[in-house]
Symmetry: C2
Subunit: 337 residues, 2 copies
DNA sequence: AGCCCGGATGTGAACGCTAACGTCAGCCCC
DNA sequence: GGGGCTGACGTTAGCGTTCACATCCGGGCT
């Protein structure tokens, strides 16, 4: 497809046909596994294909079949564990049947989101995955012209868009129940950004578990996923806080550091639980109890839902949730008292 | 490009031409910014395009121009900071002029590498970026059929392939010089995998700085980039080790933890320096002195080199190095004695 | 034997675009 | 005033596939 610098063009179907002594249509049939081709003929064609190192021209095929076999992924340009894992998870799932084109945006505002969608449509993608974690991003999706199947990944509920995500609510609730079960009177929560849908769901799950247990409901402290914000918010924690659920592992790292600086010991004085189970989590000081998410599964489900929407037209699809799992390590224990 | 479920096909150039009262060729000229179109005519065409919401068919255009405007990135399926940053950095750089298609491999063995290249060639990409960090991956590149420009990213030197990478040798050397300058008799090194080219270069830089200073050269401890390996290797460190240079920040985290468990204090007893400057590095206990890499710049340079190779044919391109920068925090200080 | 049917192949026409011409004004200039 | 030039178009011919249809041939049936 790249311009040939050596002057001679790559072989086309007609060349193969000539060499094999058949018509181009027979070559096409062989290529597309049609029945009604004699084994002998097929072999001759295959031999010719190999001899010429022939490769079908994707553009020509696309022109007539109207299928590009390409899916687009819009992702925010972030090193965050979740989005990155989902990108790879999705690519792995789609790899067999589709090409995956990416667009990484510096921010998920409406303008750049629509721009990215438009670019993909121009490219001819058959469906789009949006790894949107903020309200603004998902809100922008409402404005995309219909006709292109879109599935949101890793973000919470929204009316008109299909989505696949980890069940944040259940994850946060189970972590909270676990801490309560250890004997803590209540659990504090250092959440992600207020505009972040994952963060919201985790807050909801935490609150629900608290309420169900009749425990006091402390005010939410909202960070921005970064270790920096965890550090700052962790520094504001005062007695009698004995248990903290963090919105992600990275913020938990900041909290750990803030507590250490103030001479508070984990888990003796304060129990800390994270969310994500990033690979480093078991090497924090102390190893972090956290909620593990299966992003490979998220990617697989996302492909399923997207393909479903692609074939069924654009009917609003389901909202799939994949269940997280609590991984207990040393950063959470029964309160000292 | 997706099959239209509503039955009616999207408008084509001829539709626009009819509405504007011109020939399809004139529409083409307007679309491609050809001169020799009267302003009045151009406006009429543009109005028709807008009215019909016409979009040029990318496949048809590709068929005749033989250009796909697509670049492929082969990346190993890893959450490592470096590869991921380079992927995004490259996409950002290429976004204006190209589509970026990705293939994430579970491993960079020769078979899967060749498979990925082949897949991309079939798709018609104009050039390929390989984020290869291991010997095996780069070695496999030697076997790809010529004709497709390939640039390796983030990996060391190899004869026949252009590459863009951070200057690992200089980074490791400067970190080593810094520790030596603080008064340490020598610097130990916990390296990445022996087969990893970045790791090798860092070892080389470390050794060179040691030699230049006439310092003793301890044996290299080789990990695998993970916090786990850092933890294990860190546990093997014995007196009189006073300074450790780690191959990346994540391993440094493991080292930090291992030292803490043995009651050794950082930086009082042992100085630790990382490599990468991941966002969390400043929230480790203590905040990590490390070598920062500008992956955005790497992405930009990679695009330059790749485009150069695409236009110049396939002549072996240059090996570009971008300079890293030492960021000093609290994990390294003068030795106690 | 005549007929029909279906398997195996070839032929022509799209698909939607750009490149290479052809055409036809209008203009300049000797 | 006619030849040549240039700007502003239109016409035709591909690009390399697949699809719809035509063709051919052998065999089973009546």
């Amino acid at each position: 497809m790249a311009p040939q610098p050596d002057g001679k063009r790559p072989p086309v179907m007609a060349d193969v046909a000539r060499l094999a002594g058949v018509s181009h249509q027979t070559v096409s049939r062989v290529l597309n596994d049609h029945p009604n081709v004699r084994a002998h003929t097929r072999d001759r064609v295959l031999a010719a294909i190999r001899e010429l190192a022939y490769r079908p021209n994707a553009a020509a095929r696309t022109l007539v079949t109207r299928r590009t076999h390409t899916l687009g992924v819009i992702s925010v340009d972030t090193m965050l564990y979740g989005p990155t894992s989902m990108l790879y998870g999705f690519e792995r799932a789609a790899h067999d049947a589709y090409f995956v084109s990416i667009a990484s945006l510096p921010a998920l505002d409406r303008r750049s989101m629509l721009g990215a969608v438009d670019r993909f449509v121009g490219q001819g993608v058959e469906g789009i995955i949006v790894i949107a974690t903020h309200d603004s991003g998902v809100a922008a999706l409402a404005h995309v012209p219909p006709g292109v199947p879109i599935v949101a990944l890793g973000c919470g509920t929204h009316a008109s868009i299909s989505s696949v995500a980890v069940d944040n609510e259940e994850g946060a609730a189970s972590a909270t129940r676990y801490l309560l079960g250890l004997g803590h009177k209540t659990v504090h929560h250092i959440a992600g950004p207020a505009s972040n849908l994952d963060a919201k769901e985790r807050v909801a799950g935490w609150r629900k578990a608290l309420r169900a247990a009749g425990a006091p409901e402390p005010a939410v402290l909202a960070g921005d996923w970064s270790a920096a914000s965890g550090y700052e918010l962790g520094g504001q924690l005062r007695q009698p806080v004995t248990a903290v659920l963090c919105g992600n592992d990275t913020m938990a790292l900041g909290v750990l550091r803030a507590l250490a600086e103030r001479g508070l010991r984990v888990p003796d004085d304060v129990s800390v639980v994270g969310f994500d189970d990033i690979p480093e989590a078991s090497y924090y000081t102390p190893p972090l109890t956290t909620v593990r998410q299966d992003f490979g599964e998220v990617g697989k489900q996302a492909l399923n839902v997207l393909v479903e929407r692609m074939t069924d037209g654009v009917a609003a699809g389901p909202k799939v949730r994949v269940s997280p799992e609590l991984v207990t390590r040393q950063s959470a224990a029964a309160p000292r008292g």
